[in-house]
């Protein structure tokens, strides 16, 4: 039988069971730059995700994943269910915010060269999160089964069909067949509410584990003043969460997101059909690309080029092990190119 010395600090029953002292000493060792706004983006991305999870669970109570009923069920949520419009607005705006934060987070990691060794797994898990996040946004945009949702599902799955080697299989896999149908909708629903969130939970946990396990070299090299992660940084992060919550609620209340008319596969795709904002640049390139490039059909060539760029992007810490200035410049050039192409797509 062991006995504690009389002058040993007493910890509560719960703290003892939780191992709070060990956790606290681990948190005390972490520090973040004092005035860097960049370090709040990762947490804000997670917060936007949590807002989507909470509002998404509420939407599931009334949504019906059937081509004949989906649009009407979304209309009912927005118009008849008490606070349904608010819940839907929070979900839609938080989704946009989540994708924006995800892209901004990736951009900041690139320009700060935080991806370099030994953060390879942190980067790879982050790239995987981006893919899952875009998959979430894509499948979610299909669910209202509006004219716009139908067009985006049709064109988006066809673009995915231009992935080298696995394209045809991938397109059929996304659609649940050769043509869009109610199978497409129920498949998008299953991915949106179950498979992708489960994958995201695992990958987010892995991402946190990887970035906390190994030092971020760029941070250690920066020599800026730091503050303790706990409680200083977490309190500031909490304030930022409240700010984001207020922003999303304001947008959900005052900036209505139209559901649009119900999808009709017999109607011609309208000329002004616009993809989601994060696909505008790709949309513009596909729209204006030559019919053939190097003897290959234009979209097929672009599909190969985008896949190659994606592989290069994922392999960044292995291609640029030390985090060179070229990567920083390319990140800025890439950002301006994306903004310019998106702007051209709108006009």
């Amino acid at each position: 039988m062991t006995t504690e010395p009389k002058d040993a600090p007493r910890s509560s029953w719960l703290a003892d069971r939780l191992g709070w002292d060990r956790l606290r000493s681990s948190l005390d060792r972490h520090a973040v730059p004092r005035h860097s706004f960049f370090f709040y983006i990762g947490g804000l991305t997670l917060f936007a995700l949590l807002l989507q999870v909470a509002s998404g669970i509420l939407l599931m109570m009334y949504y019906r994943p059937d081509a004949a009923a989906a649009h009407a069920s979304v209309e009912r949520i927005a118009r008849e269910i008490p606070y349904g419009g608010l819940v839907r607005g929070v979900h839609v705006w938080a989704a946009d915010l989540f994708v924006a934060m995800l892209l901004l987070h990736a951009f900041i990691v690139m320009v700060r060269r935080s991806f370099k060794s030994p953060q390879e797994l942190g980067w790879l898990s982050g790239v995987l999160l981006m893919l899952i996040g875009i998959g979430q946004a894509f499948t979610g945009a299909v669910l209202p089964w509006s004219e716009r949702a139908y067009t985006n599902a049709r064109v988006g799955s066809q673009l995915a069909g231009y992935t080298p080697m696995v394209g045809d299989w991938f397109r059929r896999f996304l659609r649940g067949g050769e043509e869009l149908s109610t199978d497409t909708l129920s498949r998008a629903y299953a991915f949106h509410v179950a498979l992708l969130p489960a994958a995201m939970t695992v990958v987010v946990a892995g991402h946190f584990y990887f970035i906390s396990r190994k030092p971020v070299v760029a941070l250690e090299e920066s020599n800026t003043k730091t503050i303790p992660f706990y409680p200083d940084f977490l309190i500031r992060q909490g304030v930022a969460f409240v700010g984001i919550l207020v922003l999303v609620l304001t947008l959900a209340i005052f900036a209505d997101r139209s559901i649009g008319t119900v999808a009709d596969p017999r109607l011609a795709t309208p000329a002004d059909a616009q993809p989601p904002w994060y696909m505008l640049a790709l949309h513009y390139v596909v729209r204006t690309a030559p019919r053939e490039l190097l003897g290959v059909e234009g979209p097929r060539f672009l599909g190969g080029a985008v896949t190659a760029l994606g592989v290069l992007f994922a392999a960044l810490p292995f291609v640029d092990r030390r985090g060179s200035r070229i990567t920083v410049w390319l990140s800025w050039v890439g950002l301006f190119a994306l903004l310019l192409l998106s702007f051209r797509a709108l006009h």
Binding site: L180, P265, E292
Partner: protein, 148 residues
């Protein structure tokens, strides 16, 4: 001699690791195969044979319109006493095309593609012509066969 230094023990541990790892891999493959096949739509999925799309009288001469054959949007073109059917999916990015009576052609408003009434590409980004589908008439109804 401790067990960690015993070469027989190391061999046994390695054998156990391989057995457990191999069994886990076998379970994943055996369990995963039916799941993948369940999720993978058949390449042959389509309408099972000719599908009735409407009475012949619904497609008057010198007209064209988009109708559904099962889930597939198809353009029915009635020109010069001949009824032809084409997939209404633009061969560029599969937007749904429409008939333009004004220009006497089939147009894709999505990215500006245009096709002649026999499916040939007239302009815009598409490279391949519209896919022609076989049609037949049975008891006054038009039937269209859509391959998978």
């Amino acid at each position: 001699m401790s067990s960690s230094e015993d070469p027989t023990s190391v061999g046994r541990r390695r054998f156990l690791n391989l057995t457990v790892g191999g069994s886990a891999a076998a379970v994943v493959v055996i369990g995963g195969y039916p799941v993948v096949k369940y999720l993978e739509p058949s390449a042959q999925q389509g309408t099972s044979g000719p599908t009735r799309v409407g009475a012949v009288t619904e497609f008057p001469p010198d007209s064209a319109q988009v109708v559904l054959a099962g889930e597939h949007p198809v353009v029915i073109v009635h020109k010069a006493d001949r009824i032809r059917a084409f997939s209404a999916r633009c061969t560029h990015l599969q937007c749904i095309v429409a008939y333009s009576a004004e220009h006497q052609q089939i147009e894709c408003q999505c990215h500006g593609g245009s096709f002649a009434l026999d499916g040939r590409v007239l302009g815009g980004p598409p490279v391949r012509p519209l896919t022609e589908l076989s049609v037949s008439i049975e008891e006054g109804f038009l039937l269209v066969s859509v391959p998978g």
